[in-house]
Point group: D3
Chain length 70, copies 6
């Protein structure tokens, strides 16, 4: 082993299990392509409610009212 | 656009929506004052329970039992 | 005071209060042993569900189905 | 004291000392406006080179070649 | 736009520009595959020296002396 | 293995190698005492210059001019 990337992903709450699996899958492969063994890759997804996000000075719960997480 | 600050704010759980709005508002303005366009500023508020905070070796849930978030 | 370490601990959800106390206690002492006053040490424990962790390309909720947090 | 926000700010490398002071100043005031004593506010600015940022799939060092930090 | 993942990647210092580009590229695509527009994806790579990593109680600079970043 | 804590430690720049070793050593033991195998514990120390820290609205480089890291 050796090289050990840690990846913290911040997203809105409400991800489906399938989306989480795809994120973990996909990001792990990015590092495998760099010849880092997949056992070495750790990923943590931090979900926080939309109203805890600010973009352009607005809460995401207001600005992106209609949009749902994948 | 271009310069893109990311701001992660860790606080105790229980913030009011108004407090969140003020945090997002205020922090965004700090960067606007530095001539960074507000669209470029992203803020995430991570709320964790008081008992997940340690200050001076004590859990905040014990040390600051009486204190409530804004 | 002066030197102020901030420690963010990412773990699976479900820690007992006792485990949290031990983590805060123990980590604070590590810095006291470096002559940093304990008042200066801040620790935040971020708990996220097992299914938000990826290790070796698998969700921890699948890979470590049997394992429970302390 | 009691309520202790921790704020991590990620920005490009190359901030002037004046900009850092303004960021610390401004963000601290945001929390003072929420009646959190300023002693309780801790801010860390993490500067990373432009080429360590990806926006829209491009490195910021390419996408925003002309833009300088404040 | 709307859904805005922030991804913080912690790695050892010494990544080549090519590796950084591949990381940004690859991770952005993971989210595009979830129908998140690529403009919405922000990635920051935090490089820290090997001697700032601890794995299994050992500094990575000792444990993985021979291993180089991609 | 299974339970995998990730610990991010933010400190001022200038830690001695000995201090880093003690931090890694000590924090790893905290989790071993919770029966988490030490191989599972990952620690990253992020050092940033004193002038990138704000405490009580002041830069640490001003407020704690005399103080040196361990």
């Amino acid at each position: 082993m050796g090289f050990i990337p840690i990846v913290i992903v911040y997203m809105w709450s409400g991800l489906s299990l399938e989306a989480k699996q795809k994120i973990v899958d996909g990001i792990t492969k990015v590092f495998e392509d760099l010849r880092i063994p997949k056992e070495a890759v750790e990923i943590v997804i931090i979900e926080t409610p939309k109203e805890n996000w600010g973009v352009g000075g607005e809460l995401a719960s207001v600005k992106f009212k209609q949009i749902k997480p994948p």
